[in-house]
């Protein structure tokens, strides 16, 4: 069997801002996958992405892209990376044509035919100033740019936030098309977990600067489940299985980290599938209660 090639690899990466610390972050994104990078606002997603892209300097740890260590001299690696941020960085006076002129003189592999095709496909006028674009159009413009220089890796920071479901769905469709190629990989940061459930193969969950979960999305979703029981039954559930429990007036809801064991041990209790969002919320709440900031 072929060895799995990691396109992105982070080992013990740390960045300390004083009031926020990205603490020993380690994860890998295998080639040909869509990796969902989830976490609440301020969890450290953008900081991690900025570190991967060498936009900010890490305090310690190692980052590799396409197997090469990232440092100030490896900007050429970005030839193969398309990046989409939550805000468009192009000047408002720029039109699609202006962006094409600029980018074809920056990227060696810039394909203007593909760029204008993308603009057409995304219904973006090439002569209109991008300052007059809606938020959805701005995101699509960034995606059109990211897809026009034969990038093998797409890194996206909240590309679907603030967009209506129709545009979000369209954009997810574009990502699906992109990963049809075997060597194409996506790192998609989002707190809209429903989007990731549709498209992600891998999931990395970050909370308060620490990686909480990382692995295959289906496995993570299969392993976790929400166990529903009466208040007095909650204490019977083995602590090793419990991620976090929410006990209310009418019963208890417990996120367990081993669904099969829970089903065997507690056959009388109701066990339901846990959505990514629920998993995220339970882990965040566990962290909050552990640090004493929970309610």
């Amino acid at each position: 069997m072929d060895e799995v090639k990691n396109v992105i690899e982070l080992k013990n990466v740390t960045k300390d801002y004083g009031d926020f610390k990205l603490d020993n972050v380690s994860f890998a994104v295998p080639e040909g996958t869509v990796c969902g990078f989830i976490g609440q606002n301020g969890a450290g997603k953008t900081t991690t992405i900025n570190l991967i892209l060498d936009v900010i300097r890490r305090d310690s740890g190692d980052i590799t892209l396409f197997g090469e260590p990232v440092n100030k001299d490896t900007a050429y690696l970005r030839e193969d990376i398309g990046v989409v941020f939550d805000e468009m960085g192009f000047h408002e006076f720029m039109t699609g044509r202006d962006i094409n002129i600029m980018m074809k003189n920056i990227y060696k592999n810039w394909d203007e035919e593909v760029f204008f095709e993308n603009l057409k496909k995304f219904s973006l006028p090439s002569k209109k100033k991008c300052g007059a674009f809606s938020r959805g159009m701005r995101m699509k413009l960034q995606i059109a740019v990211a897809l026009s220089h034969n990038a093998k890796l797409l890194i996206m920071d909240e590309p679907t936030s603030g967009l209506d479901p129709i545009v979000r769905n369209e954009i997810i469709g574009i990502f699906r098309e992109f990963v049809v190629e075997e060597d194409h990989t996506i790192l998609l940061s989002s707190h809209i977990t429903s989007d990731l459930e549709k498209i992600a193969d891998e999931v990395v969950f970050i909370n308060a600067g620490k990686i909480v979960l990382a692995g295959n999305k289906d496995e993570i979703m299969e392993k976790h489940a929400v166990l529903k029981c009466r208040k007095d039954e909650a204490s019977k559930v083995s602590e090793s299985l419990v991620v976090y429990s929410e006990i209310g007036d009418y019963g208890a809801e417990i996120l367990v980290n081993d669904r099969h064991s829970a089903e065997k041990l507690y056959p009388d209790m109701v066990i339901e599938n846990a959505a990514l969002e629920e998993i995220m919320i339970y882990y965040v709440n566990r962290n909050r209660s552990a640090s004493g900031t929970g309610r």
Partner: protein
């Protein structure tokens, strides 16, 4: 790198329109001036000033005054060609740093692109000015082509020095503080000029305000002769300042990130 230079020039689009208006105006007015200085009313005024001579002016003084007017014509197009602060302001407003930090160019190349934008624009401004100087030198004997060329080199060098220092302060202070960068640049240029010319300034001060001797003609016109004849000193200084500014800006940009 070419792409970033193109983008910077796009940011200065409005300014370039102004440049072409100023250039057109300068060409028209300067030709009118030299023709008038030779055959028209300005020549007449010059002659009358010498005849009446209330201010004890010599012919050299009048020629030098005409030279200053010509210098202004030479400086105007270069001065209007591009103020880099507008590029920083436009980049900051658009959040272009997000784009520039993800393109396959190192910080050093991104910074070099900005410096090259200055040189490209000043190159264009200087070339046009040289053509203008050549035309004017054919029409007048107030100022030779060589002297006008000296003025062009001096003004292009001084504005390059201003731009190089401005880039340094913009990088040092970061986006959103361009006005402070401008103020600091002007202040640092004034301070440097004063320190370099401290002795001359002191002598003039003593002569005029302490000894109450009034202006000395030679001292008064000395800077004009210096500009016309020693433009290469400004050029060498400009090169040195640009290199120094690039090195210092690069160190800061690599440490701080997200400033270019």
């Amino acid at each position: 790198m070419k792409g970033l230079i193109i983008k910077d020039i796009m940011c200065l689009r409005k300014q370039l329109t102004l440049f072409f208006f100023v250039l057109f105006g300068t060409v028209v007015i300067s030709i009118m001036f030299v023709l008038s200085a030779k055959y028209g009313n300005i020549a007449l005024i010059g002659r009358q000033m010498l005849e009446i001579n209330e201010n004890e002016m010599s012919q050299i003084d009048i020629i030098n005054l005409a030279n200053i007017v010509m210098m202004l014509f030479m400086i105007l197009p270069i001065a209007c060609v591009g103020d880099m602060v507008n590029v920083f302001i436009a980049d900051g407003k658009a959040g272009f740093i997000k784009i520039s930090s993800i393109i396959p160019l190192t910080v050093s190349k991104r910074l070099l692109a900005r410096f090259l934008t200055i040189f490209t624009l000043f190159g264009i401004g200087t070339a046009i000015d040289v053509i203008l100087a050549f035309i004017l030198s054919l029409l007048t004997d107030i100022c030779s082509f060589g002297e006008m060329f000296g003025v062009i080199i001096t003004s292009a060098s001084v504005i390059s020095i201003y731009s190089a220092i401005l880039i340094f302060f913009c990088i040092l202070l970061g986006y959103g503080r361009e006005v402070y960068a401008q103020v600091l640049t002007i202040l640092s240029m004034i301070v440097s000029f004063s320190l370099i010319n401290f002795k001359s300034i002191k002598d003039i001060w003593i002569r005029i305000f302490i000894n109450e001797q009034g202006f000395d003609r030679d001292t008064f016109w000395k800077p004009l002769y210096f500009i016309k004849e020693k433009g290469y000193i400004f050029l060498i200084t400009a090169c040195a300042v640009c290199i120094l500014s690039y090195i210092c800006s690069l160190k800061i940009a690599e440490r701080k990130r997200g400033v270019i």
